[in-house]
Symmetry: C2
Subunit: 345 residues, 2 copies
């Protein structure tokens, strides 16, 4: 980036491809362990437990796991244990907890309660020496390396690929593993063809916005909306393409730009229908893999797999939102409210 | 309402207490049936499936059921069946589908897939002759009566009380049944002491806003945020009090008023902590059951039970948002975007 100091956020986001490439070797053994346990005693249901960005990764995993296995995936409310102290009854279930730091006391208590309640506990962490890892039966180290920016980027992408590899392991899907193996190069390729400057122009003064996805992409949309809040101070909200018709559209208009994360799978038509709805409301509308007239196209590398496609979309969004933050006069590495409040508490 | 024609929305919201009172008798038999089946063969997990407002009611139920039973409650993504055609594996699970009309084809397909997958299917509907009711093992008719306003009000409250009675039945809790029996009078009492006009003044020109809840109240907060969009064209977003610290606060400021739904249970302190965070960011802050200096108090009838408290808060909010819609020059019965788009599709 000529004439500018690269932000920590941009630097760390750019590290994601190398970090993802490290996972194939390091996750092989714990995932083989998980696959063996899964086969020997197939779970009755799956439970996830996480907070913030990690919970958005878990939402991606929820759709992906339900589609891949037909088992229901429950996102346990941590307060059920941490506030209400309810003993959990998770006999014969797979429990997946996700935390970059592995330090959160409420997630630790939940994992202990899950294990006491009969679940097989898997921890996806970025620190295999963390307390949460210590409470797990199987530890999946996401290998993101140290992350210093306030806004998580590479750790989010590494969490998604860890989940994709977990699904490859339990469903014995070499195609899914191969898709994750292709991803680092696809992410690098995507970063060479950033989103058009027109989108920056339309977002620079926006007060509110929407991000729309569906299926696994909904979890990514939720995370990107949070990122817009964190680094650009922009009130962006995520919705499922299926829910746009159920009321949210009443708040969509010319002052609320919309980004749609299209898919290349069976959900493609529903995202494109949502794009037409949004466009008809007069919202500036931008679409990745959304072939609808009048929608501004966001260049997107096609990955050839529904579990890696949203990851490439997230990577491209990071490039956009980091630039938008600076265009809005902010510092992506120092989200003002987040810092200020931390000091006042 | 002197000098004004009462809107359909206001009329229907005011019918909720009488409708809720009807449920005790009509739900007794199907709930006894459910309780007997629950005892004879305790479910391994619980799955919900719904869309829009009904899905927000299911979110209320998710927290309430997890706290009451210790079982995980999964919100099945309807697209898993309707788009991806995945066979469900729900052997020994309780499946609760919620739909006022009972007409949605995707929910019907999901219920059929759930039954084929081994679940006991309960349908909470407002029309016991609907296709969704026909696909269920047990039908819980919410008794809301005909609802004509675009914005659901009484049907949402009747869904919540049906869920509360379901929980009373499966946990054999006369205290919960008694709490629902007290609710109609508490709702009527609450409508006589509306929220202060100050809140209308602060919201009349707002472009965006937040509603914060926790536990069962988070499902209600999500619904109230949707109602703000639908009838007042206000981009309101819901958050868990626990998530405010995880990034959303970066988008909270003087231009984004916040309503917090406090509780009288173990979560009370966490909502009050969120109120202090939000207030320190300069947001106009309004709290129901939130005893924090500097927060504008929203008069709230104390119901004496954590499952009915959010229902009284929702009832009070309906009175507020209906007035706000008119103050913003809109017609609560004719949300402009919702109508317009329906015509253009």
């Amino acid at each position: 980036m000529i004439g500018e100091t690269q932000t920590r956020m941009a630097t760390e986001a750019a590290e994601a491809p190398d970090r993802i490439a490290l996972q194939a070797a390091s996750l092989a053994e714990p995932l083989a362990d998980l696959a063996a346990k899964w086969s020997a005693s197939p779970p009755r249901a799956i439970v996830t437990c996480a907070r913030g960005s990690s919970d958005h990764a878990a939402l991606y995993g929820k759709y992906a796991l339900e589609i891949a296995t037909g088992l229901p995936v429950a996102s346990l409310g941590p307060s059920v244990v941490s506030v209400h102290e309810t003993p959990l009854r998770l006999d014969g279930m797979l429990y997946i907890t996700v935390s970059q730091s592995g330090q959160s006391p409420d997630l630790l208590r939940c994992a202990e309660a899950a294990r006491a309640g009969g679940a097989l506990v898997v921890a996806i962490v970025n620190d295999s020496a963390s307390p949460l890892a210590g409470a797990a039966d199987i530890v999946l180290d996401m290998q993101a390396g140290p992350e210093h920016a306030v806004a998580a980027t590479k750790s989010f992408l590494c969490t998604l690929t860890t989940i994709a590899r977990l699904i490859a392991a339990i469903t014995d899907s070499p195609a899914t593993d191969a898709a994750v193996d292709r991803l680092p190069e696809q992410l690098r390729s995507g970063s060479k063809d950033p989103w058009p400057s027109e989108i920056l122009d339309r977002y620079v003064d926006a007060g509110r916005a929407f991000v729309i996805g569906r299926g696994p992409g909904l979890g990514v949309a939720a995370e990107l909306a949070l990122k817009a809040k964190e680094v650009a101070g922009l009130h962006a909200e995520a919705f499922s393409a299926a829910e746009v018709q159920h009321g949210p559209k009443a708040a969509i208009g010319p002052d609320s730009p919309v980004i749609l994360l299209g898919t290349e799978d069976a959900a493609k038509a529903s995202v494109e229908e949502a794009a037409r709805t949004v466009g008809a409301l007069g919202a500036p509308t931008f679409g990745s893999l959304v072939a609808v007239p009048g929608i501004v196209d966001l260049p997107t590398v096609r990955t050839g797999h529904p579990l890696t496609q949203p990851i490439v979309q997230a990577g491209a969004f990071y490039g956009f939102i980091e630039k938008l933050s600076r265009r809005r006069g902010l510092d992506p590495d120092n989200p003002p409210s987040l810092r200020k409040v931390t000091k006042t508490l």
